[in-house]
Symmetry: C2
DNA sequence: ACCTGAACACCGTTCAAGT
DNA sequence: ACCTGAACACCGTTCAAGT
């Protein structure tokens, strides 16, 4: 695994931010699954226990990594155009995950518990949905709908392909190519436009095969649905 | 951890299905994070290496567990009522996860790579969306939209609360209670209906605090949005 | 065919000890 | 205050050996 001669990067000059940044860089470079505190320590040039001076556990370290990836993604709310807000919200989130796709598996989970900027997210969601015409219980539902929309598309689009990419991709290609009209008539009729471009029928994730058009349509569905349900029109 | 006298359950009588079932039972009982092949082996009354006779790796074992949880959730497609299909699809998925909430963190990821019944899911999605009026590229987008809707709400609703439930819940309660109109006007104005009932503002997940009303509204948004975008009306 | 028993190369985390 | 060095109690997985 380690091929470099280990330059022992100058004086460590550690800090909590530096540890989080190094962890994110490590995951970007090598993936989430093989990440370990020990491997991170080695990449920094320090003993494993040194990490624990700045961070209480592996789990909280990764929570900070997620917070770093998502920092600043919530768009400004201008008090007027809720459609522009929703569009920017979903686009910014996707752009953030796209910059660091290896952390995608953590994000669905961590959205629940990240305690940093999240109140600002809820605040702007409510403000925007209130302008859209929602109030009371429906306002809660509109906020939860936005949160579901946030996570639903992007986390699946960038979900990692199985470990043994080689064999799995081959098998998936074959299975898709072997679809027949007898077994799956609708699939067979739409195979060219679906192959490697639809959830369930693809062997690459959003890094190699982004689903830009589907994502744009997804946003339009969410906005049109909210328009239809908003009491004030 | 182990308090029981270890009854050494009769003759093992192992099989692939039995191993998967035992793994699911273990995760249901003790959670996903502390799950290990060794702990599973102990609960079955067998040496760890015995597991590997039936299953190639921990990762594939967990993929089978997910498949077991989701088995049969795709509703029948009657060829007519696409709104009933979408409603049943989302409800069935949520019901399945609700029965085994501890596996929720795996599902967003595994939806991509589970190779079992998934083609049937895509087939019925396409058939239903075709009846809704979509075709060509928009049909792909409609299918991807359904998949995003599937995962978005439920996986967040049942995402596990942090390990140290005690301290985290306390801290979350306090932070929510401390919200002021000066910092978060919209939140402050809607605090009673949002507290512990909205993503980002809750300290219990869907097991203790299900979001039935919001989920119903989410489904209506998705269906209304698809109606609005469908060419044929 | 199916499982044991032992081993290998790892983990996260704690803690006394150094500076 | 910050890091070393060693240790503890685990992991997933492999493999020869038994039956």
């Amino acid at each position: 695994m380690t091929t470099k001669p280990k330059p022992r990067a100058a004086p460590p000059e550690l800090s909590r931010e530096a540890v989080v940044a190094a962890a994110l860089a490590w995951v970007d470079a090598h993936g989430l699954e093989p990440f370990s505190v020990r491997a991170l320590a080695k990449s920094i040039g320090v003993f494993p226990a040194a990490i624990y001076w700045y961070v209480p556990s592996r789990e909280l370290l990764l929570a900070e990594v997620v917070a770093e990836v998502l920092r600043g993604f919530v768009p400004e709310w201008d008090g007027v155009d809720w459609r522009a807000y929703v569009t920017a919200l979903l686009h910014n989130f996707r752009a953030a995950v796209r910059r660091h796709p290896n952390v995608a598996p953590l994000i669905g989970t961590q959205l629940v518990s990240n305690t940093s900027i999240d109140f600002a997210l809820a605040e702007r969601n409510l403000a925007a949905m209130a302008v859209a015409g929602f109030s009371g219980e429906a306002l809660v539902g509109a906020h939860n709908t936005l949160m579901a929309a946030l996570a639903g598309f992007t986390t699946q689009e960038f979900a990692p392909v199985p470990q043994n990419a080689q064999a799995w991709q081959q098998a998936m290609r074959r299975r898709v190519a072997a679809i027949t009209a007898a077994d799956y008539p609708a699939l067979a009729a739409n195979l060219p436009s679906m192959t490697n471009r639809a959830f369930v029928l693809r062997w690459e994730n959003g890094v190699a095969a982004p689903l830009d058009d589907s994502f744009a349509m997804f946003i339009r569905v969410v906005i049109a649905g909210l328009e239809a349900l908003a009491p004030g029109g």
